[in-house]
């Protein structure tokens, strides 16, 4: 097995674009597009960012309302987010304060209701392009 040990990988033709081969060998895909650009485990009960990547700060807006501020901004507001919640809770993004290049706001509610609530475990991963 060959192994390259290096600190930085940069695209030669385009600095932000390195192509990798798929597991089955049938396709190629951009490495950068596949890497998560941010993730967070946020405890709104204790207002603690338990662990994270590319998160500069959090904002506890109100019960069940909270924001993540990115360290490195996204290229635009069209990135995706996946979430995981603890028992009988649902996470959704704000439509009033829409996702921007520097922040995303979430609401945590009790399932089958519109009741907002603080919870201990809010899991978020962000995919998309960085600026």
């Amino acid at each position: 097995m060959s192994e390259i040990k290096v600190d930085n990988l940069t695209g030669k033709t385009s600095a932000g674009d390195i192509t990798v081969t798929s597991e089955g060998g049938a396709a190629t895909q951009s490495l950068q597009q596949g890497l998560a650009k941010a993730w967070a485990l946020f405890d709104q009960v204790s207002v603690a960012l338990d662990s994270s990547l590319n998160i500069a700060s959090t904002v506890d807006d109100a019960a069940g309302q909270w924001r993540l501020n990115f360290t490195n901004a996204m290229s635009d507001g069209s990135y995706s987010w996946g979430t995981g919640e603890q028992d009988y809770r649902v996470l959704g993004v704000s439509t009033g304060l829409v996702p921007t290049t520097t922040q995303i706001k979430f609401y945590t509610r009790v399932v089958n209701t519109s009741t907002l609530t603080d919870v201990d475990y809010n899991n978020v991963s962000i995919n998309g392009g960085l600026a």
Binding site: T10, G11, T21, E23
Partner: protein, 121 residues
């Protein structure tokens, strides 16, 4: 600090994928507005079919190697992202998704974010 500048990385046989040490890359992501049937941003998504209210199907440019990949999504406040368990049609080439309101009613929503992880074909 060392810096490797390269366009394509593959395994030493020239075709197999490289191993990322202790990490994995997503194989697709999507930011979809079903209200306006608009794909705001995506990777490895060829199209999104707006099937009916609250039901839509993203299709992949490059298919997964099997149907056992993960689909993790979220939606607006007071809405809930789900796989469409009526058909639970998650195939190598597409996946049926559903958005519900605070109950079980299906609803079109402005913000659907989805990330896909697994092995590509």
């Amino acid at each position: 600090m060392s810096d490797l500048r390269v366009n394509t990385i593959s395994a030493s046989d020239g075709t197999s994928p490289v191993t990322l040490t202790k990490q994995s890359a997503a194989k697709g992501w999507l930011n979809y507005d079903q209200t306006n049937n608009t794909n705001r941003g995506s990777a490895n998504i060829s199209s999104v079919t707006d099937t009916s209210q609250g039901l839509y199907t993203p299709s992949f440019v490059n298919n997964f190697s099997d149907a056992y990949y993960t689909t993790v999504g979220s939606s607006n406040v007071n809405r809930r992202f789900q796989l469409n368990s009526t058909s639970y049609d998650q195939t190598t080439g597409d996946v049926d998704c559903r958005t519900t309101d605070t109950g079980t009613g299906v609803q079109d929503v402005v913000y659907n974010g989805i990330n896909f992880h697994g092995d590509l074909a």
